[in-house]
């Protein structure tokens, strides 16, 4: 029957990454600072809009408008979001094919928040050995304070992360006041709570398990690697030599001594393993857990500098380069992704720049299809829908052409001043004088909806059927 010895889930092996200094650490810190400045401060940036919310970036779901600085995106333009997502996806493919898991190592929010949480951990509990000692120690006052302090700080960060996220969807200053006074809507509390909880759990507790077990990107990025892709790799030839790696010891101090004995440059200090946030040994080769954060490069470079040996025992390289071949950057795959990326970006920018400041549609009312008038004329009616996409008023004029003798009657609303972001339905009646000699002037009429004031744009032309009964 059941076998009690088989575990379905592997127990997490705790990882205590050691801190490290170096170029890539500085780069990562720089990216982190920039990302946090943007993420946490953006909702607080104000933007002067005369007739709309004054938050620079606001995704107003109830109002059905996305405000991004000078750009107001309406519901019908939501396909731009699809465009942005497509561009991001292709950008990911492009960069991954060229330089490996750059996204994972430097930009992913999981990496950024885990990094911050580790910094907090390091600041409160100390360096790797201290943290390991603390974990093993019995629960006492010191452990309680240090662990509690870490958790409290994590929670604070998580909470502010949640509040900041929610602030993108509602007015930020109002939100904070409402959250504190208990007046915020249920959705705001839920969103904040959810983001707080996930941030705490993912960055504080789950960490590298998110990348290893949960993240689909992590897995399919590996599928985009080829022999020319930049990877972080241990130079096995140099590090192992003929006889393998060895610690610094008697007769193995200098490079010359080691090379004479056939021992490689790796002094097996284990620094690269200790700094690894996902707990792997890079010297075992490329592994799916590796998020390409490059901290092992910093670690090894520090050791090599210390030994006054050349850097680069662990370095960014490619499989081809490691095997003494040339790394090709201009591969068909790279060029293909590059072309698609450029095209997608160009189309999106073109679409945004040329988007009309207003929309207008015309639909024939088919119940009844036509109306016989007292003087023998024929009338068709239409529903005209106008939508001012601007946050300022604009004047729109409506006229018809293409149907000789036809007149348009909209109860004086042929010229209409639309309030900011107004959507309106209007009734339009088009009538032709009595048909003479059984020849109708046409079966189509074109509505021309043009911006007269407040905006400049190409007139919108809508050709719609004009129905004349048979025998007329």
């Amino acid at each position: 029957m059941s076998d009690n010895n088989v575990e379905l889930y592997q127990k997490r092996i705790p990882i205590y990454p050691r801190s490290v200094k170096g170029r890539f650490r500085n780069l990562k810190t720089g990216v982190l600072a920039l990302a946090y400045i943007v993420y946490f401060l953006l909702p607080w940036l104000r933007w002067d809009r005369p007739n709309a919310p004054d938050q620079a970036v606001l995704y107003d779901l109830p109002g059905r408008h996305f405000y991004i600085f000078g750009l107001t995106i309406q519901v019908q333009d939501i396909f731009w979001l699809a465009g942005v997502l497509i561009i991001f996806a292709i950008l990911l493919f492009f960069v991954t094919g060229l330089a490996g898991r750059v996204w994972c190592g430097y930009f992913c929010f999981q990496t950024l928040w885990t990094d911050l949480y580790m910094m907090i951990e390091h600041w409160v509990q100390g360096e790797r050995p201290a943290r390991m000692r603390l974990d093993k120690a019995p629960w006492n006052r010191e452990k309680l304070i240090k662990k509690g302090g870490t958790y409290a700080l994590w929670l604070l960060v998580a909470l502010w992360t949640g509040v900041s996220f929610t602030a993108y969807w509602v007015d930020a200053p109002t939100l904070v006041v409402e959250l504190l006074t208990g007046q915020a809507p249920y959705a705001a509390y839920f969103t904040t709570f959810f983001l707080t909880a996930t941030t705490f759990v993912m960055a504080g507790l789950a960490r590298e398990q998110v990348c290893t077990y949960m993240c689909p990107y992590a897995r399919f990025q590996s599928a985009m690697f080829d022999h020319d892709t930049l990877i972080i790799s241990y130079d096995e030839q140099r590090g192992e030599g003929a006889k393998g790696r060895a610690k610094l010891g008697k007769g193995l101090k200098t490079r010359e001594e080691r090379q004479a004995q056939g021992v490689g440059d790796c002094i097996d200090c284990g620094y690269c393993v200790q700094v690894c946030p996902v707990g792997i040994d890079i010297r075992n080769g490329l592994q799916y857990q590796c998020i390409s954060c490059a901290l092992c490069i910093d670690a090894c470079d520090a050791i090599m500098d210390n030994q006054k040996w050349p850097r680069g025992l662990i370095r960014y390289t490619s499989e081809n380069a490691l095997n003494g071949r040339k790394t090709r950057l201009l591969k068909p795959k790279t060029i293909g992704y590059g072309v698609v990326l450029t095209a997608a970006t160009a189309i999106l920018i073109w679409s945004v720049l040329t988007s009309a400041p207003y929309t207008g549609t015309v639909e024939q009312i088919r119940q009844p299809l036509y109306t016989q008038l007292a003087d023998g004329g024929i009338r068709n009616t239409y529903e005209v829908k106008l939508n001012n996409k601007l946050t300022a008023p604009m004047t729109v004029g409506i006229r018809i052409e293409g149907l000789p003798g036809a007149t348009l009657d909209m109860d004086g609303m042929e010229r209409i001043e639309l309030t900011p972001q107004e959507r309106i339905k209007l009734l339009a009646r088009v009538q032709i004088p009595p048909v003479v000699g059984g020849k109708a002037p046409g079966d189509k009429v074109t509505f021309i909806i043009e911006a007269l004031a407040g905006a400049t744009a190409e007139p919108i032309r809508r050709e719609v059927p004009f129905y004349v009964p048979a025998g007329n």
Partner: protein
Amino acid sequence: MSDPTQNAQPKPGEVQTTGHAWDGDLQEYNNPLPRWWLWCFYGTVLFSVLYWIYYPSWPVGESWLKGVGTVDYTITDKQTNQVKEQEFRWNTRSLLAADLSEAANNEKRKAMLAQVKAASFDQIVKDRHMMDFVRSVGKGLFGDNCAACHGSGGQGVVGLYPNLTDDDWLWGGAMDQIHQTLVQGRKGYMPAFGAVLKPEQLDDVAEYVLTLSGEAKPSEASARGKEIFHGPIGGCYYCHGADAKGVPSQGAANLTDKIWAIADVPTQKTLQDKKAVVKGFVTKGVNNTRIMPAWKGRLNDDDIKLLAVYVHQLGGAK
């Protein structure tokens, strides 16, 4: 026969047995339900009891247990037009009513209705927001109350129900005239001339009537018909007017335009057929077939006002 055996505790990798062996080697596995599962089950039992108490549940005789749950929502009394909050028993219908009365759009609707109520007809027509509101609410009201006869688009049925989209109005197409028609209803009436006029005279009148709108060319017959129409024998001009353009206060049709509300002239192919149709109505008259019910009392004043504006925008006179 069963023998209790000593060793009922399982070894690693084995399943616990009930501790009895029948016929020497027949044993029964003991797979008790997990404790958490049992507690969940007891929880659902408790839940169902509370559910019976709170919500409508068991049938009892010809009724059912109503449950203690209630829903509050505001209702508008159709007769007195008073708005009041009332408590109702919980059921999905009152839940829907509560949802509707509390929805954000309902507040907007109420505000808009108040605006329309306070405005004059002229003001409503000139305000596109009010017109937008009238068109969307009016469509529903029209569909519920008027479309059965007049058609969903107000196109009517020739001979029976007037077309509301054209510009020929028997009872007047101004907004207040339409409003009056809705409030008090109308009854179309034309006397039968079959007993008054001779068949030839009826033919002559029919031919004259057709010349008025250009359906027939003037002839000797139409000249004779003209005399009957405008003379004391027929006296048609009493109602249709000396110019034959109709009199809205009588509901008399305009005979000079291209619109035929009762006699279906336009679809007839030959002059003979057209004459026959017109003659038929002159002979038999119109009585008890064209009745518009009065809507006062059936609809509240606001709805009638909305409908008047809605019908006017369908094709009412300027």
